[in-house]
Every structure is written in C-alpha cells, then in structure tokens.
Symmetry: C2
C-alpha cells in the first residue's frame, strides 16, 4: 500500500488531509486493494452500487454493452481517479454501467457509506472528505457532459472534432495523445470504426490534423 501513497496524495478525495493522517483516514474508511488484469471487470452492470474505486495503477473504462455486444465507452478513468462514486452517492441499487480494466491494474475499493456518512468517532477529516467528494461527483458531471457534447453531434466528423478540440483544451496543447485506440475511440464517439478511420484520413488530407496511432496534432483552430 505504501508504494501508492503518492497516488493517494494526488487524488482530490484526500485534499486537505495531511499525509500523516492518511493512514488513519484509510482505516476509518476501510479500503482494500485489489488487482485486476487487463480486460477483467471490476464492477459489472447490475452489481450493487455500494463501492467507490480509485485507480492506483493502470486504468479502467466505464462501459456499457447491449444485447448484440455493441460496446459503448462512457469514460476513461486513469490513475488517481475515482469510479462508481456517483452511483454510490446517489444511492442507486444497481450499477447502470460496468467498469473494465484496460490494462493490468491495482484498485482501491472503499465502501461509499463509510465516506459519506460521518463515522461514529466523528473523525476530524470526515467533513472535509465529504466536501471533497461533492467536488469530485460534480466533476464527474463534467466528464459526462463532455460525452454528451460529443454524441449530440450528428456526423462522425463533428463528433471527432468536438472530442479532439476538447482534449486539446484540457491538455492545453494542440498536440496530445488520447487513451483510446481506433476501436475504442469509435466506441466512445458512438460511430463505426471504419467510418472513423476514413474520416481521420480525410481530415489529414485536408490539412486539418496530423495523427499517428493515438497521437493527434491539430493544425488549425476550429472546424
């Protein structure tokens, strides 16, 4: 666990908690660490929404799959980021999405009630943690809003550009890598992979962007 202290420190859930208090804090919350290998699910759609996860190592995705196996990717969750918190905090009975590891990962699982309900010994950190959780859940709304912004667009081209422009803004650079391969990007944008590839080629030919694998570079502002 100690090896991941730097990750814990970076997670906004523990903002304002002093390093030396982190141990007690974790004891109070009662977390446990698990390992998941690439492709394995941490939570499955329909599972009880009681726990919050934090990515200590690796990365996971929020995904939804329908009858026919069509995969939809809702969000990418990287190191020091949380997942499941919104559903647990909302008191939802069953998870509407699955969480799947995209690489071999380590995850810290915490019972959400022990975070959001003040503990019996009313530890001093607790109100701070609740406040931090509020910010994090609110931030997850922004992540969802991003996805809505993208999928609200009608064409593959607009979806892609909306996503790329957002990424550029987030990274504060016109040159960046994305956490998705082509199929995953298609599953995030909700379009066909083949059509997406074709559109990327077209944008390249038109001199609007350069790309190589999952690295993109936007050459002009807008459109």
């Amino acid at each position: 666990m100690k090896e991941y202290h730097s990750v814990l420190e970076r997670c906004p859930l523990f903002d304002g908690i002093r390093l030396e208090d982190l141990g007690a804090m974790l004891g109070c919350i009662g977390g446990r660490t698990i390992s998941v290998s690439k492709g394995q699910a941490v939570f499955r759609e329909g599972d009880a929404a009681t726990h919050v996860g934090m990515v200590l190592k690796g990365a996971v995705q929020m995904v939804r799959e329908d009858f026919y196996g069509n995969r939809s990717i809702v969000a990418h969750i990287g190191q020091a980021e949380l997942f499941g918190e919104s559903y647990a905090c909302a008191g939802l009975a069953a998870l509407p999405i699955s969480i799947v590891a995209v690489e071999d990962s380590k995850v810290l699982l915490m019972d959400c009630r022990r975070i959001t309900v003040s503990c019996s010994n009313a530890c001093a950190f607790h109100s701070r943690i609740i406040y931090n959780m509020l910010r994090l859940v609110a931030n997850k709304n922004l992540v969802f809003d991003q996805k809505i912004q993208v999928t609200s667009k009608r064409s593959t081209r607009e979806k892609l550009m909306t996503y790329l422009l957002n990424q550029a803004k987030l990274r504060n650079s016109d040159d960046f890598t994305i956490p998705y391969d082509r199929q995953e990007l298609a599953d995030y944008l909700e379009v066909e992979r083949s059509g997406l590839s074709a559109e990327i080629s077209k944008l390249r030919r038109e001199g609007i962007l350069e790309s190589e694998k999952n690295r993109f570079r936007l050459l002009q502002k807008y459109s």
Copy 2:
C-alpha cells in the same frame, strides 16, 4: 415566498431541515426569487457558474445551441428540481450550457458557495445541506447517464425506445406523458423531427405503442 414553502419542502436539498428552520436556512444561504417568462434564459452558456437555481413554479430546460442554431436539449428541470448545481460545485468558471424557461416560471437563485462552504456562524443545518447537495449532484449524474444511454444508440428507433422505456420505468407505468413536444423530443434524442415523427408512426402501425401528442403508451415489453 411563503406560497412556495411546499415546493421548498419537497426539494431534497432541504431534507432533514425542519419546516420552522427553513426561514433561517434561506437567510443563511441568501436566496432571491426571480421571474422568467417563457423562452427567456435564466443562465446563458458562458455565464459564471456561481449560482444554483431551483424551480419554484414552471419548468426550465438545460440546452446547448451551436453556431448553426441546432438546439440540443440535455435535460428537463421541473418543479422543486435544481439546476446549475453541478457546474457550481465543480468550481467551473463558465457554464457549458444554458438554462431556458419553457413556460413562465419562478426560480430561486442561491449562491453555491454559501451552500457548500460552512457559514461563519456554523449553522447546524449546514452539514446536512452539504450532504443533501452531494446526493443531488450524484443524482444529476444519473440524469446525464440517461441522456448518454439514449444518444449512444445509433438509430432513431432505438433512441426513442430507450427513452420511452426509461420513462416508463421512472413513472412505473406503461402509460405516461413526456415534457417534450415533437421538436423538443427530437432535440433531446438528437435526431431529425421529421424522422422521429415517421418512426413514431411506424411504431404505432406495428402495434408497439400508442401515442397522442405527448402522451405515450407502450403495448409490449422490449423492442
């Protein structure tokens, strides 16, 4: 204001606050009531995201509009529901959406910081309010997730059915009215109005649903 006390009581933001304390509470939070007429914006995309609104009377929509005037409806906010809370709690500088009244409405505006940051006189209600806010923001995530579920579908038919089945589940009935007319429903589903009308007719002919204006009745489970 007194006339809206019953609305305030119904809003989960004030869960656990006794009726007789509501007045003090509101003073502490410092809310003010405004009237907005149909079609008018309460907040505009780009506005500072500092305030939370509650619908006392009427209804509003979260909308986003692009250069070309294509309207996208993100959510319908009815009586006793909040808006803007996620963006304010996330500490976002500018709102990424607009809030527009869909009928003549009355709205209670509150400064979000005065809700989420404990006040100097540390009023007893405050920690409860923060906890309530956490639940509400988490719940807004579910509203967003609904929208994502709908717009993740590829065809007009699937989008419509996903929306209608969700509504039926929420209302706990196969017979329900929706808060949208055809154009608004199209703007929520992110499809063409004409194509949506055609699809509804088709579903009617196939005996899958009945509809009359904004009232729908699902005749079979699934598909």
